[in-house]
Protein backbone atom coordinates (compact mmCIF):
# COMPACT_ATOMS: atom_id res chain seq x y z
CA UNK A 1 0.00 0.00 0.00
CA UNK A 2 2.91 2.39 0.59
CA UNK A 3 3.54 2.13 -3.16
CA UNK A 4 -0.05 3.17 -3.80
CA UNK A 5 0.45 6.28 -1.66
CA UNK A 6 3.31 7.28 -3.94
CA UNK A 7 0.99 7.37 -6.96
CA UNK A 8 -0.48 10.58 -8.29
CA UNK A 9 -4.27 10.83 -8.28
CA UNK A 10 -4.52 10.01 -11.97
CA UNK A 11 -2.17 7.04 -11.59
CA UNK A 12 -4.13 5.72 -8.61
CA UNK A 13 -7.43 6.13 -10.49
CA UNK A 14 -6.00 4.21 -13.45
CA UNK A 15 -4.75 1.45 -11.12
CA UNK A 16 -8.22 1.15 -9.58
CA UNK A 17 -9.89 0.95 -12.99
CA UNK A 18 -7.37 -1.70 -14.08
CA UNK A 19 -8.27 -3.79 -11.03
CA UNK A 20 -4.77 -3.47 -9.57
CA UNK A 21 -5.77 -1.38 -6.57
CA UNK A 22 -8.74 -1.68 -4.21
CA UNK A 23 -10.29 1.76 -3.66
CA UNK A 24 -11.34 0.89 -0.09
CA UNK A 25 -7.75 0.02 0.81
CA UNK A 26 -6.49 3.22 -0.78
CA UNK A 27 -9.06 5.27 1.11
CA UNK A 28 -8.22 3.55 4.39
CA UNK A 29 -4.48 4.10 3.91
CA UNK A 30 -5.00 7.82 3.31
CA UNK A 31 -7.56 8.02 6.12
CA UNK A 32 -4.95 6.62 8.53
CA UNK A 33 -2.31 9.08 7.29
CA UNK A 34 -4.68 12.03 7.55
CA UNK A 35 -5.81 11.01 11.04
CA UNK A 36 -2.16 10.92 12.16
CA UNK A 37 -1.41 14.36 10.68
CA UNK A 38 1.01 16.51 12.70
CA UNK A 39 0.89 19.58 10.45
CA UNK A 40 -2.53 20.87 11.51
CA UNK A 41 -3.71 20.44 7.93
CA UNK A 42 -7.18 19.08 8.73
CA UNK A 43 -10.25 20.23 10.59
CA UNK A 44 -12.16 16.97 10.06
CA UNK A 45 -11.18 13.50 8.81
CA UNK A 46 -13.62 10.83 7.59
CA UNK A 47 -14.23 8.02 10.06
CA UNK A 48 -15.63 5.49 7.65
CA UNK A 49 -14.82 4.17 4.20
CA UNK A 50 -17.24 5.34 1.49
CA UNK A 51 -19.09 2.91 -0.81
CA UNK A 52 -17.09 1.61 -3.76
CA UNK A 53 -17.09 3.92 -6.80
CA UNK A 54 -18.81 2.92 -10.03
CA UNK A 55 -16.45 0.66 -12.02
CA UNK A 56 -16.02 3.30 -14.74
CA UNK A 57 -15.79 6.31 -12.38
CA UNK A 58 -13.14 8.55 -13.95
CA UNK A 59 -11.64 9.49 -10.58
CA UNK A 60 -11.54 5.86 -9.46
CA UNK A 61 -12.50 6.32 -5.82
CA UNK A 62 -9.30 8.28 -5.14
CA UNK A 63 -10.10 10.31 -2.00
CA UNK A 64 -10.26 14.09 -1.97
CA UNK A 65 -9.32 16.68 0.66
CA UNK A 66 -11.64 19.69 0.63
CA UNK A 67 -11.04 23.17 2.02
CA UNK A 68 -13.16 23.80 5.10
CA UNK A 69 -15.19 26.60 3.45
CA UNK A 70 -16.93 24.24 1.03
CA UNK A 71 -20.27 23.23 2.51
CA UNK A 72 -20.54 19.47 3.05
CA UNK A 73 -23.91 18.21 4.26
CA UNK A 74 -23.82 17.04 7.88
CA UNK A 75 -20.04 17.53 8.13
CA UNK A 76 -18.42 20.50 9.89
CA UNK A 77 -17.92 23.39 7.46
CA UNK A 78 -16.48 26.27 9.45
CA UNK A 79 -14.40 28.34 7.02
CA UNK A 80 -11.67 28.44 9.66
CA UNK A 81 -13.87 30.67 11.84
CA UNK A 82 -15.00 30.58 15.46
CA UNK A 83 -18.30 32.09 14.34
CA UNK A 84 -19.09 28.86 12.43
CA UNK A 85 -17.58 26.43 14.95
CA UNK A 86 -19.42 23.11 14.73
CA UNK A 87 -21.65 24.30 11.86
CA UNK A 88 -22.97 21.38 9.80
CA UNK A 89 -24.65 22.63 6.63
CA UNK A 90 -27.87 21.12 5.25
CA UNK A 91 -26.44 20.83 1.72
CA UNK A 92 -23.22 20.17 -0.20
CA UNK A 93 -21.34 22.54 -2.51
CA UNK A 94 -21.88 21.78 -6.20
CA UNK A 95 -18.20 21.23 -6.90
CA UNK A 96 -17.84 18.70 -4.07
CA UNK A 97 -20.91 16.85 -5.36
CA UNK A 98 -19.55 16.84 -8.90
CA UNK A 99 -16.21 15.41 -7.79
CA UNK A 100 -17.86 12.80 -5.57
CA UNK A 101 -20.07 11.86 -8.53
CA UNK A 102 -16.97 11.40 -10.68
CA UNK A 103 -15.49 9.08 -8.06
CA UNK A 104 -13.51 11.28 -5.63
CA UNK A 105 -15.08 10.75 -2.17
CA UNK A 106 -14.51 13.15 0.71
CA UNK A 107 -11.44 12.20 2.77
CA UNK A 108 -11.09 15.28 4.97
CA UNK A 109 -11.78 18.97 5.38
CA UNK A 110 -8.67 21.15 5.36
CA UNK A 111 -7.59 24.01 7.57
CA UNK A 112 -7.52 27.51 6.11
CA UNK A 113 -7.21 31.17 6.95
CA UNK A 114 -10.50 32.39 8.41
CA UNK A 115 -12.95 33.07 5.56
CA UNK A 116 -9.98 32.69 3.18
CA UNK A 117 -8.46 35.95 4.42
CA UNK A 118 -4.73 35.47 4.74
CA UNK A 119 -1.54 34.35 3.03
CA UNK A 120 -0.05 32.17 5.75
CA UNK A 121 -2.86 30.07 7.28
CA UNK A 122 -2.08 31.75 10.62
CA UNK A 123 -5.53 33.36 10.69
CA UNK A 124 -7.39 30.09 11.31
CA UNK A 125 -9.45 29.83 14.50
CA UNK A 126 -8.32 26.19 14.58
CA UNK A 127 -4.59 26.87 14.68
CA UNK A 128 -1.86 27.32 12.08
CA UNK A 129 -0.74 24.78 9.46
CA UNK A 130 2.94 23.88 9.29
CA UNK A 131 4.88 23.68 6.03
CA UNK A 132 6.02 20.06 5.46
CA UNK A 133 9.31 21.31 3.96
CA UNK A 134 10.16 23.13 7.21
CA UNK A 135 7.79 22.97 10.14
CA UNK A 136 8.94 26.34 11.47
CA UNK A 137 7.49 27.96 8.35
CA UNK A 138 4.02 28.74 7.01
CA UNK A 139 2.46 26.76 4.13
CA UNK A 140 1.01 29.93 2.60
CA UNK A 141 -2.67 30.67 2.50
CA UNK A 142 -5.46 30.79 2.50
CA UNK A 143 -5.71 27.18 1.21
CA UNK A 144 -2.75 26.23 3.43
CA UNK A 145 -4.23 22.99 4.75
CA UNK A 146 -5.00 21.71 1.25
CA UNK A 147 -1.49 22.58 0.02
CA UNK A 148 0.31 21.09 3.03
CA UNK A 149 -1.81 17.92 2.91
CA UNK A 150 -1.02 17.25 -0.76
CA UNK A 151 2.67 18.18 -0.42
CA UNK A 152 3.07 15.90 2.61
CA UNK A 153 1.26 13.01 0.93
CA UNK A 154 -1.56 13.05 3.50
CA UNK A 155 -4.05 13.30 0.64
CA UNK A 156 -3.65 12.40 -3.03
CA UNK A 157 -5.25 15.66 -4.18
CA UNK A 158 -7.28 18.52 -2.84
CA UNK A 159 -9.44 21.47 -3.76
CA UNK A 160 -9.19 25.01 -2.47
CA UNK A 161 -10.34 28.48 -3.41
CA UNK A 162 -8.46 31.43 -4.81
CA UNK A 163 -9.64 35.03 -4.41
CA UNK A 164 -6.30 36.84 -4.78
CA UNK A 165 -3.82 33.95 -4.79
CA UNK A 166 -5.13 31.53 -2.16
CA UNK A 167 -4.55 28.42 -4.31
CA UNK A 168 -1.45 29.50 -6.23
CA UNK A 169 0.61 31.00 -3.38
CA UNK A 170 0.30 28.02 -0.96
CA UNK A 171 0.90 25.65 -3.89
CA UNK A 172 4.13 27.54 -4.60
CA UNK A 173 5.24 27.60 -0.96
CA UNK A 174 4.57 23.85 -0.58
CA UNK A 175 6.07 22.71 -3.90
CA UNK A 176 2.89 21.47 -5.61
CA UNK A 177 0.64 22.45 -8.51
CA UNK A 178 -2.28 24.86 -7.99
CA UNK A 179 -4.75 26.08 -10.60
CA UNK A 180 -6.99 29.12 -10.32
CA UNK A 181 -9.55 28.71 -13.10
CA UNK A 182 -11.22 31.44 -15.14
CA UNK A 183 -13.85 33.23 -13.10
CA UNK A 184 -17.11 31.45 -13.90
CA UNK A 185 -15.57 28.11 -14.89
CA UNK A 186 -16.54 26.49 -11.58
CA UNK A 187 -19.75 26.91 -9.60
CA UNK A 188 -19.45 28.88 -6.37
CA UNK A 189 -22.64 27.35 -4.96
CA UNK A 190 -21.92 26.12 -1.44
CA UNK A 191 -18.61 27.96 -1.13
CA UNK A 192 -18.79 30.22 1.92
CA UNK A 193 -18.27 33.57 0.20
CA UNK A 194 -15.38 35.98 0.69
CA UNK A 195 -15.37 38.28 -2.37
CA UNK A 196 -17.97 37.09 -4.82
CA UNK A 197 -16.62 38.75 -7.98
CA UNK A 198 -13.22 37.08 -7.42
CA UNK A 199 -13.71 33.73 -5.60
CA UNK A 200 -12.98 30.62 -7.69
CA UNK A 201 -12.49 26.99 -6.69
CA UNK A 202 -9.60 25.01 -8.14
CA UNK A 203 -7.37 21.94 -7.65
CA UNK A 204 -4.16 21.57 -5.62
CA UNK A 205 -2.27 18.51 -6.84
CA UNK A 206 1.07 16.71 -7.05
CA UNK A 207 1.35 17.26 -10.78
CA UNK A 208 -0.17 19.06 -13.77
CA UNK A 209 -2.03 15.99 -15.07
CA UNK A 210 -3.87 15.65 -11.75
CA UNK A 211 -4.82 19.33 -11.89
CA UNK A 212 -6.27 18.87 -15.38
CA UNK A 213 -8.14 15.72 -14.39
CA UNK A 214 -9.72 17.25 -11.27
CA UNK A 215 -10.52 20.50 -13.04
CA UNK A 216 -12.20 18.60 -15.88
CA UNK A 217 -14.69 17.27 -13.34
CA UNK A 218 -15.07 20.56 -11.43
CA UNK A 219 -15.95 22.87 -14.29
CA UNK A 220 -19.52 23.21 -15.45
CA UNK A 221 -22.50 25.49 -15.53
CA UNK A 222 -24.69 25.29 -12.45
CA UNK A 223 -28.26 26.54 -12.18
CA UNK A 224 -27.50 27.40 -8.54
CA UNK A 225 -24.77 29.93 -9.50
CA UNK A 226 -25.94 32.40 -12.12
CA UNK A 227 -22.35 33.57 -12.75
CA UNK A 228 -21.13 30.06 -13.62
CA UNK A 229 -20.45 29.41 -17.28
CA UNK A 230 -18.52 26.14 -17.26
CA UNK A 231 -15.82 25.67 -19.91
CA UNK A 232 -16.42 25.91 -23.66
CA UNK A 233 -15.03 22.42 -24.28
CA UNK A 234 -13.90 19.40 -22.29
CA UNK A 235 -10.62 19.99 -20.48
CA UNK A 236 -7.85 18.08 -22.22
CA UNK A 237 -5.29 16.06 -20.29
CA UNK A 238 -1.87 17.58 -20.96
CA UNK A 239 0.57 15.82 -23.28
CA UNK A 240 2.93 18.52 -24.48
CA UNK A 241 6.67 17.96 -24.11
CA UNK A 242 8.05 21.06 -25.84
CA UNK A 243 7.17 24.73 -26.12
CA UNK A 244 7.93 25.30 -29.80
CA UNK A 245 6.11 28.35 -31.07
CA UNK A 246 4.79 29.31 -27.62
CA UNK A 247 5.18 33.01 -26.90
CA UNK A 248 5.79 33.84 -23.22
CA UNK A 249 5.48 37.44 -22.04
CA UNK A 250 7.49 38.45 -18.98
CA UNK A 251 6.02 41.56 -17.33
CA UNK A 252 8.78 43.75 -15.91
CA UNK A 253 6.29 45.07 -13.33
CA UNK A 254 6.03 41.65 -11.62
CA UNK A 255 9.54 40.30 -12.13
CA UNK A 256 11.80 42.93 -10.60
CA UNK A 257 11.68 44.96 -7.42
CA UNK A 258 10.17 43.18 -4.45
CA UNK A 259 10.96 39.67 -5.65
CA UNK A 260 13.44 37.82 -3.43
CA UNK A 261 16.78 37.20 -5.25
CA UNK A 262 16.59 33.40 -4.90
CA UNK A 263 13.03 33.34 -6.24
CA UNK A 264 14.01 35.57 -9.15
CA UNK A 265 17.03 33.37 -9.96
CA UNK A 266 14.85 30.26 -10.06
CA UNK A 267 12.34 32.09 -12.26
CA UNK A 268 15.02 33.23 -14.70
CA UNK A 269 16.51 29.74 -14.87
CA UNK A 270 13.10 28.42 -15.91
CA UNK A 271 12.78 31.11 -18.58
CA UNK A 272 16.06 29.76 -20.02
CA UNK A 273 14.66 26.24 -19.83
CA UNK A 274 11.52 27.42 -21.65
CA UNK A 275 13.72 28.88 -24.39
CA UNK A 276 15.55 25.57 -24.70
CA UNK A 277 12.15 23.88 -25.15
CA UNK A 278 11.43 26.21 -28.05
CA UNK A 279 9.49 29.04 -26.41
CA UNK A 280 9.87 32.65 -27.48
CA UNK A 281 10.43 34.64 -24.28
CA UNK A 282 10.09 38.42 -24.49
CA UNK A 283 9.37 41.28 -22.10
CA UNK A 284 5.76 42.49 -21.97
CA UNK A 285 4.02 45.32 -20.19
CA UNK A 286 1.25 45.26 -17.61
CA UNK A 287 1.39 48.96 -16.74
CA UNK A 288 -1.31 48.80 -14.07
CA UNK A 289 -0.06 45.65 -12.35
CA UNK A 290 1.78 47.68 -9.67
CA UNK A 291 -1.63 49.11 -8.67
CA UNK A 292 -3.45 45.78 -8.63
CA UNK A 293 -2.74 45.03 -4.99
CA UNK A 294 -4.13 48.41 -3.90
CA UNK A 295 -7.28 47.91 -5.98
CA UNK A 296 -7.63 44.37 -4.67
CA UNK A 297 -7.37 45.45 -1.03
CA UNK A 298 -10.30 47.80 -1.62
CA UNK A 299 -12.52 45.56 -3.77
CA UNK A 300 -12.08 42.30 -1.85
CA UNK A 301 -12.67 43.79 1.63
CA UNK A 302 -15.63 45.79 0.30
CA UNK A 303 -17.26 42.61 -1.01
CA UNK A 304 -16.29 40.76 2.18
CA UNK A 305 -17.89 43.38 4.42
CA UNK A 306 -21.14 42.77 2.57
CA UNK A 307 -20.86 38.96 2.41
CA UNK A 308 -19.96 38.63 6.10
CA UNK A 309 -22.98 40.66 7.20
CA UNK A 310 -24.84 37.34 7.20
CA UNK A 311 -22.97 36.16 10.30
CA UNK A 312 -25.19 37.80 12.87
CA UNK A 313 -26.12 35.08 15.34
CA UNK A 314 -29.58 34.50 13.88
CA UNK A 315 -29.66 31.61 11.39
CA UNK A 316 -26.52 29.59 12.16
CA UNK A 317 -23.31 29.63 14.12
CA UNK A 318 -22.34 31.46 17.25
CA UNK A 319 -24.66 33.72 19.24
CA UNK A 320 -23.34 35.80 22.13
CA UNK A 321 -25.43 37.73 24.67
CA UNK A 322 -28.80 36.53 23.48
CA UNK A 323 -30.37 38.43 26.38
CA UNK A 324 -29.12 41.79 25.19
CA UNK A 325 -31.06 43.94 22.74
CA UNK A 326 -30.86 43.01 19.06
CA UNK A 327 -28.05 45.38 18.16
CA UNK A 328 -26.02 44.32 21.19
CA UNK A 329 -26.46 40.65 20.22
CA UNK A 330 -25.23 41.38 16.69
CA UNK A 331 -22.19 43.40 17.72
CA UNK A 332 -21.09 41.06 20.53
CA UNK A 333 -21.61 37.92 18.44
CA UNK A 334 -19.44 39.36 15.67
CA UNK A 335 -16.85 40.65 18.14
CA UNK A 336 -16.46 37.20 19.68
CA UNK A 337 -16.80 35.18 16.48
CA UNK A 338 -14.44 36.95 14.06
CA UNK A 339 -10.66 36.95 14.31
CA UNK A 340 -8.41 40.01 14.01
CA UNK A 341 -7.76 39.82 10.26
CA UNK A 342 -11.43 39.33 9.41
CA UNK A 343 -12.35 42.33 11.56
CA UNK A 344 -9.65 44.36 9.85
CA UNK A 345 -11.03 43.54 6.40
CA UNK A 346 -14.63 44.13 7.40
CA UNK A 347 -13.59 47.53 8.75
CA UNK A 348 -11.54 48.36 5.66
CA UNK A 349 -14.35 47.30 3.33
CA UNK A 350 -17.04 49.12 5.29
CA UNK A 351 -14.90 52.26 5.26
CA UNK A 352 -14.27 51.97 1.50
CA UNK A 353 -18.01 51.69 0.87
CA UNK A 354 -19.14 54.33 3.35
CA UNK A 355 -20.77 57.58 2.39
CA UNK A 356 -18.23 60.16 1.25
CA UNK A 357 -15.49 57.60 0.53
CA UNK A 358 -17.14 55.28 -1.99
CA UNK A 359 -16.03 57.12 -5.14
CA UNK A 360 -12.46 57.71 -4.00
CA UNK A 361 -11.89 54.12 -2.88
CA UNK A 362 -14.25 51.46 -4.22
CA UNK A 363 -15.19 53.41 -7.36
CA UNK A 364 -11.57 54.12 -8.31
CA UNK A 365 -10.53 50.54 -7.56
CA UNK A 366 -13.15 49.28 -10.02
CA UNK A 367 -11.68 51.56 -12.68
CA UNK A 368 -8.19 50.20 -12.00
CA UNK A 369 -9.73 46.78 -12.53
CA UNK A 370 -10.87 47.85 -15.99
CA UNK A 371 -7.33 49.03 -16.82
CA UNK A 372 -5.92 45.69 -15.69
CA UNK A 373 -8.37 43.79 -17.90
CA UNK A 374 -7.15 45.97 -20.79
CA UNK A 375 -3.48 45.41 -19.89
CA UNK A 376 -3.94 41.65 -20.10
CA UNK A 377 -5.97 41.92 -23.31
CA UNK A 378 -3.08 43.86 -24.88
CA UNK A 379 -0.51 41.37 -23.59
CA UNK A 380 -2.44 38.39 -24.97
CA UNK A 381 -2.64 40.05 -28.38
CA UNK A 382 1.13 39.43 -28.61
CA UNK A 383 1.72 36.53 -26.25
CA UNK A 384 0.14 33.15 -25.53
CA UNK A 385 0.86 33.41 -21.81
CA UNK A 386 2.17 35.82 -19.22
CA UNK A 387 4.64 34.25 -16.77
CA UNK A 388 5.83 35.45 -13.36
CA UNK A 389 7.11 34.06 -10.07
CA UNK A 390 4.02 32.97 -8.10
CA UNK A 391 5.09 34.41 -4.77
CA UNK A 392 7.72 37.10 -4.17
CA UNK A 393 9.22 34.98 -1.38
CA UNK A 394 9.68 31.38 -0.30
CA UNK A 395 7.76 30.15 2.76
CA UNK A 396 8.37 32.56 5.63
CA UNK A 397 8.67 31.83 9.34
CA UNK A 398 5.56 31.39 11.46
CA UNK A 399 4.85 34.73 13.10
CA UNK A 400 7.19 36.65 10.80
CA UNK A 401 4.49 38.80 9.17
CA UNK A 402 1.55 38.60 11.56
CA UNK A 403 2.29 41.98 13.15
CA UNK A 404 2.35 43.83 9.82
CA UNK A 405 -0.79 43.37 7.69
CA UNK A 406 0.69 45.22 4.72
CA UNK A 407 3.78 42.98 4.63
CA UNK A 408 1.44 39.96 4.59
CA UNK A 409 -0.68 41.48 1.79
CA UNK A 410 2.44 41.85 -0.39
CA UNK A 411 2.56 38.03 -0.61
CA UNK A 412 -0.24 38.39 -3.18
CA UNK A 413 1.64 40.89 -5.36
CA UNK A 414 2.09 38.57 -8.36
CA UNK A 415 -1.24 36.69 -8.12
CA UNK A 416 -3.78 39.47 -7.59
CA UNK A 417 -3.60 40.99 -11.11
CA UNK A 418 -4.94 37.76 -12.68
CA UNK A 419 -7.69 37.53 -10.08
CA UNK A 420 -8.94 41.03 -10.83
CA UNK A 421 -8.91 40.26 -14.56
CA UNK A 422 -10.77 36.98 -13.95
CA UNK A 423 -8.25 34.98 -15.99
CA UNK A 424 -6.84 31.52 -15.27
CA UNK A 425 -3.34 30.90 -13.90
CA UNK A 426 -1.43 27.89 -12.68
CA UNK A 427 1.51 27.68 -10.29
CA UNK A 428 3.96 24.82 -10.81
CA UNK A 429 6.95 23.87 -8.63
CA UNK A 430 10.00 25.71 -9.88
CA UNK A 431 12.90 24.28 -7.97
CA UNK A 432 14.22 25.28 -4.57
CA UNK A 433 15.71 28.44 -3.15
CA UNK A 434 17.58 27.85 0.11
CA UNK A 435 15.98 24.42 0.35
CA UNK A 436 12.42 25.78 0.02
CA UNK A 437 10.07 25.53 -2.97
CA UNK A 438 9.42 28.39 -5.38
CA UNK A 439 6.55 28.64 -7.86
CA UNK A 440 6.36 29.52 -11.56
CA UNK A 441 3.07 31.13 -12.59
CA UNK A 442 1.57 30.80 -16.09
CA UNK A 443 -1.48 32.96 -16.85
CA UNK A 444 -3.53 32.90 -20.04
CA UNK A 445 -6.70 34.41 -21.51
CA UNK A 446 -10.12 33.45 -20.14
CA UNK A 447 -10.94 29.76 -20.67
CA UNK A 448 -7.42 28.83 -21.83
CA UNK A 449 -6.93 26.29 -19.02
CA UNK A 450 -6.24 23.35 -21.35
CA UNK A 451 -3.51 25.28 -23.15
CA UNK A 452 -2.01 26.62 -19.91
CA UNK A 453 -1.87 23.13 -18.43
CA UNK A 454 -0.35 21.73 -21.62
CA UNK A 455 2.47 24.30 -21.48
CA UNK A 456 2.85 23.69 -17.74
CA UNK A 457 3.19 19.97 -18.46
CA UNK A 458 6.11 20.55 -20.82
CA UNK A 459 7.89 22.71 -18.24
CA UNK A 460 7.08 20.32 -15.39
CA UNK A 461 8.63 17.46 -17.33
CA UNK A 462 11.79 19.43 -18.08
CA UNK A 463 12.09 20.79 -14.53
CA UNK A 464 11.73 17.29 -12.97
CA UNK A 465 11.02 18.79 -9.55
CA UNK A 466 11.44 16.32 -6.69
CA UNK A 467 8.70 16.80 -4.10
CA UNK A 468 9.61 13.73 -2.07
CA UNK A 469 11.42 15.54 0.81
CA UNK A 470 8.03 16.95 1.92
CA UNK A 471 6.53 13.46 2.07
CA UNK A 472 9.30 12.03 4.24
Amino acid sequence: MSDALALTGAQAAAAVRAGELAPAELFEAYRARAAADELGAFTWVADETPPAPAPDAPLGGVPLAVKDLFCTAGIPSQAGSRILEGYRPPYTATVVERLAGAGAPLLAKTNQDEFAMGSSNENSAFGPVLNPWDRTRVPGGSSGGSAAAVAAGLAPWAIGTDTGGSIRQPAALCGIVGLKPTYGAVSRYGMIAFASSLDQAGPLTRDVTDAALLFRHMTGRDACDSTSLGSPEEIALPVREDLRGVRLGVPSELTGEGIEPGVLAAFEATLELARSLGAEVEPCALPHAPHALAAYYLIAPAEASSNLARFDGVRYGLRVDGDADLLGMYTRTRAAGFGAEVKRRIMLGTYALSSGYYDAYYGRAQKVRTKLVEDFRDAFARFDFVVTPTSPTVAFKLGEKTADPLAMYLSDYCTVPMSLAGIPAVSIPNGLSGGLPTGFQIAGPAFSESRILDAAHALERALAFDGSPARA
Binding site: P90, A294, K343, M347, T370
Partner: protein, 94 residues
Amino acid sequence: MIDREQVLHVARLARLELAADEVEHLAAELSSVLGYVETIGQLDLDGVAPTAHVVDVVNALRADEPRPSLPQDVALAAAPDPTAGGFRVPSPNA
Protein backbone atom coordinates in the same frame (compact mmCIF):
# COMPACT_ATOMS: atom_id res chain seq x y z
CA MET B 1 -5.14 59.37 8.67
CA ILE B 2 -8.01 57.47 10.26
CA ASP B 3 -8.65 58.36 13.87
CA ARG B 4 -10.34 56.77 16.84
CA GLU B 5 -13.70 58.42 16.15
CA GLN B 6 -13.71 57.19 12.56
CA VAL B 7 -12.87 53.68 13.68
CA LEU B 8 -15.80 53.71 16.08
CA HIS B 9 -18.13 55.10 13.40
CA VAL B 10 -17.15 52.40 10.91
CA ALA B 11 -17.44 49.72 13.62
CA ARG B 12 -21.03 50.83 14.23
CA LEU B 13 -21.79 50.56 10.52
CA ALA B 14 -20.17 47.09 10.45
CA ARG B 15 -22.02 45.89 13.58
CA LEU B 16 -18.76 45.13 15.40
CA GLU B 17 -18.13 45.77 19.08
CA LEU B 18 -14.46 46.68 19.58
CA ALA B 19 -12.39 46.56 22.75
CA ALA B 20 -10.42 49.69 23.57
CA ASP B 21 -7.10 48.17 22.49
CA GLU B 22 -8.66 46.97 19.22
CA VAL B 23 -9.71 50.54 18.45
CA GLU B 24 -6.13 51.74 18.86
CA HIS B 25 -4.68 48.90 16.78
CA LEU B 26 -7.22 49.30 14.02
CA ALA B 27 -6.66 53.05 13.76
CA ALA B 28 -2.96 52.42 13.15
CA GLU B 29 -3.38 49.37 10.89
CA LEU B 30 -6.14 50.84 8.75
CA SER B 31 -4.14 54.05 8.35
CA SER B 32 -1.18 52.04 7.13
CA VAL B 33 -3.23 50.03 4.63
CA LEU B 34 -5.15 53.10 3.45
CA GLY B 35 -1.87 54.91 2.93
CA TYR B 36 -0.90 52.12 0.57
CA VAL B 37 -4.17 51.73 -1.31
CA GLU B 38 -4.48 55.49 -1.80
CA THR B 39 -1.68 55.27 -4.37
CA ILE B 40 -4.41 54.59 -6.94
CA GLY B 41 -5.43 58.20 -6.38
CA GLN B 42 -2.43 59.20 -8.54
CA LEU B 43 -3.74 57.41 -11.62
CA ASP B 44 -5.59 59.26 -14.35
CA LEU B 45 -8.85 57.32 -14.52
CA ASP B 46 -11.09 59.96 -16.07
CA GLY B 47 -13.57 58.40 -18.45
CA VAL B 48 -12.68 54.82 -17.46
CA ALA B 49 -15.72 52.62 -16.92
CA PRO B 50 -15.75 50.66 -13.64
CA THR B 51 -15.58 46.84 -13.70
CA ALA B 52 -17.79 45.23 -11.07
CA HIS B 53 -17.70 41.79 -12.61
CA VAL B 54 -15.62 40.17 -15.35
CA VAL B 55 -18.21 37.69 -16.59
CA ASP B 56 -20.21 38.91 -19.54
CA VAL B 57 -23.57 37.60 -18.36
CA VAL B 58 -26.73 39.64 -18.01
CA ASN B 59 -29.84 38.30 -16.34
CA ALA B 60 -29.23 34.56 -16.14
CA LEU B 61 -32.80 33.29 -16.04
CA ARG B 62 -34.29 29.91 -15.22
CA ALA B 63 -37.73 28.44 -15.72
CA ASP B 64 -40.15 29.62 -13.03
CA GLU B 65 -41.21 26.19 -11.87
CA PRO B 66 -41.98 25.09 -8.32
CA ARG B 67 -39.56 22.54 -6.89
CA PRO B 68 -38.85 21.16 -3.44
CA SER B 69 -36.88 23.35 -1.07
CA LEU B 70 -35.20 22.70 2.27
CA PRO B 71 -37.73 21.40 4.81
CA GLN B 72 -38.39 23.93 7.56
CA ASP B 73 -36.89 21.80 10.34
CA VAL B 74 -33.69 21.31 8.33
CA ALA B 75 -33.41 25.01 7.58
CA LEU B 76 -33.80 25.79 11.28
CA ALA B 77 -31.52 23.03 12.55
CA ALA B 78 -28.38 25.18 12.88
CA ALA B 79 -30.11 28.23 14.35
CA PRO B 80 -29.10 29.30 17.87
CA ASP B 81 -32.73 29.92 18.93
CA PRO B 82 -35.35 28.37 16.64
CA THR B 83 -38.83 29.05 17.95
CA ALA B 84 -42.29 28.30 16.56
CA GLY B 85 -40.95 27.57 13.08
CA GLY B 86 -38.85 30.73 12.92
CA PHE B 87 -35.64 32.40 14.08
CA ARG B 88 -36.14 34.14 17.43
CA VAL B 89 -34.03 37.24 18.12
CA PRO B 90 -33.85 39.60 21.08
CA SER B 91 -36.13 42.62 20.96
CA PRO B 92 -34.58 45.73 19.42
CA ASN B 93 -35.79 47.60 22.50
CA ALA B 94 -34.80 45.16 25.22
